[in-house]
């Protein structure tokens, strides 16, 4: 038996470790690629700025974009009594302002949180979820989403995507300059073996960096899911609610079609499997059962 306090602590340490590894990885990959192809610093700078701007747009307008794409409508207290009051109550316990709440008309069972900080948070649930879960189970799901809000996971994933963006833009440009540019002569040929080794590493990085970056992103995202589960238990003190909800959701045959990869990391459950942002539900339930 591990208390949720320990789980939260452990998850925080692990995710900051993964994030630091990630930053080191991105910096060294970027360095090696520009070394191998003798790119100027301008390329690196351009890649970074481009990734920064695109991420900021999604940071400030992402919630609106997602809600519009999914045709989400605001939920009122009368029609969605349980959803509204559960969110209200958990926000009280979470000590964050009550988020805006929306529903998506869909038989699929899913929910997600978005918005850049607790003051601009949005929690959205499908009508299928609201219909098929009882109040205690719904509390578990909403507590999980509110934990994402309080843990600033949306902000964290933005930083990660800036880094990933930098890598993918850089490798793109590097590939292009290899085929078309290639006009600059290397002026540090006399570095000898070390130079050759770094160049080879750079080429390898160019091929594998985007993949590795993606894998690390998934690792971070999964870590945050476990953290959100543990924080959810801290809020409700009832692991059984979330466990039952996850069991019901995993058995549900309906899949939310419009689940966009951009926000997949914030869904309660991610339907796509290969590069999953979410840990398997079995593992999550196992971790939750340890907290009972």
């Amino acid at each position: 038996m591990i208390s949720f306090y320990e789980q939260i602590q452990r998850n925080k340490i692990r995710s900051s470790l993964i994030v630091s590894i990630f930053i080191v990885f991105v910096i060294s990959a970027a360095y090696l690629i520009s070394y191998a192809l003798n790119l100027s610093n301008g390329f690196l700078f351009f890649a970074f700025v481009f990734a920064l701007i695109s991420s900021f747009v999604s940071y400030y307008y992402g919630d609106q974009i997602v809600l519009t794409l999914n045709q989400a409508i605001p939920a009122n207290r009368k029609k969605y009594f349980n959803f509204y009051t559960v969110t209200e109550n958990l926000s009280l316990a979470n000590q964050t302002p009550m988020p805006k709440i929306y529903v998506i008309e869909s038989e699929a069972m899913n929910a997600f949180a978005t918005g850049r900080d607790p003051e601009h948070a949005v929690v959205c649930a499908t009508t299928g979820l609201l219909k098929k879960l009882n109040r205690t189970q719904l509390e578990g799901v909403i507590a999980h989403e509110l934990s994402h809000v309080k843990n600033y996971d949306i902000r964290l994933m933005m930083i990660v995507s800036i880094l990933i963006g930098t890598i993918s833009i850089l490798t793109n440009m590097a590939t292009r300059s290899m085929f078309f540019g290639g006009n600059r002569r290397r002026n540090n040929d006399d570095n000898g073996e070390l130079g050759v080794l770094l160049s080879i590493l750079g080429i390898i990085m160019m091929i594998f960096a985007p993949l590795i970056a993606k894998l690390i992103q998934m690792a971070i995202s999964r870590r945050r899911e476990f953290l959100a589960d543990a924080s959810a238990v801290k809020l409700t003190r009832q692991p059984s609610g979330l466990i039952q909800a996850l069991e019901i959701i995993s058995k549900d045959p309906n899949i939310l079609k419009s689940a966009s990869p951009a926000t997949a990391s914030l869904y309660i459950n991610n339907p796509s499997s290969l590069f999953s942002t979410h840990p398997p539900i079995i593992d999550r339930i196992k971790a939750l059962k340890e907290m009972i």
Binding site: F81, N82, T85, V86, E88, N89, L90, L92, A93, Q95, R135, R237
Partner: protein, 176 residues
């Protein structure tokens, strides 16, 4: 000389930070205490409504009404645990009746009131827990060194959280 100034400045900033942090928690504790009061009042107001609207349908279910009335009395006597226990009992019994009575279920009045009642019970639970958490947080801050010295200078007393009477402690709520 500069080093002394820097150390002094850091110390002063630390003391100010500590003081403000604890004052903030005290304000939050006050606010959550008030929230508990609000929810208790709302609950007490809801009960007569529920009784009134359900009376016609539930002539033979005297026990439920007794439980609800007792719960209301317990609320006014500030016996929170006792009142919540009675309310959850009554809600359970009401649920069974509503399920087996289509007419009552269709009317929606009783079910709506039941939902409101359950919601206030939840809000009350969360408000109380927030207050307990805040108090625990406050107490943990004033016992560790060097904060313990500062706490005695500013006369920060440990927060009691919620005082639970002996009777409440011996009658825990059984949640199924």
């Amino acid at each position: 000389m500069i080093i002394i100034y820097v150390v002094l400045a850091v110390l002063i900033l630390y003391v100010i930070g500590f003081y403000n942090q604890l004052k903030t928690i005290l304000v939050q504790i006050g606010a959550s205490t008030q929230e508990i009061g609000n929810q208790l009042k709302r609950q007490a107001d809801l009960i007569p409504n529920l009784v009134e609207s359900a009376k016609g349908y539930l002539k033979h279910e005297k026990e439920i009404f007794t439980q609800l009335t007792d719960a209301r009395k317990a609320i006014s006597a500030n016996k929170i645990e006792k009142s919540q226990e009675l309310i959850s009992k009554a809600l359970g019994a009401l649920q069974v009746i509503v399920e087996s009575n289509p007419e009552l279920k269709a009317s929606g009045i009783v079910t709506d009131l039941m939902a409101e009642l359950r919601d206030t019970a939840d809000k009350l639970m969360y408000a109380r827990r927030t207050m307990i958490d805040l108090s625990a947080n406050f107490n943990a801050k004033i016992v560790t060194f060097p904060n313990s010295i500062l706490a005695s200078i500013f006369n920060f007393q440990p927060q009691k959280g919620l005082e639970i009477t002996k009777e409440e402690a011996t009658n825990p709520i059984v949640k199924l």
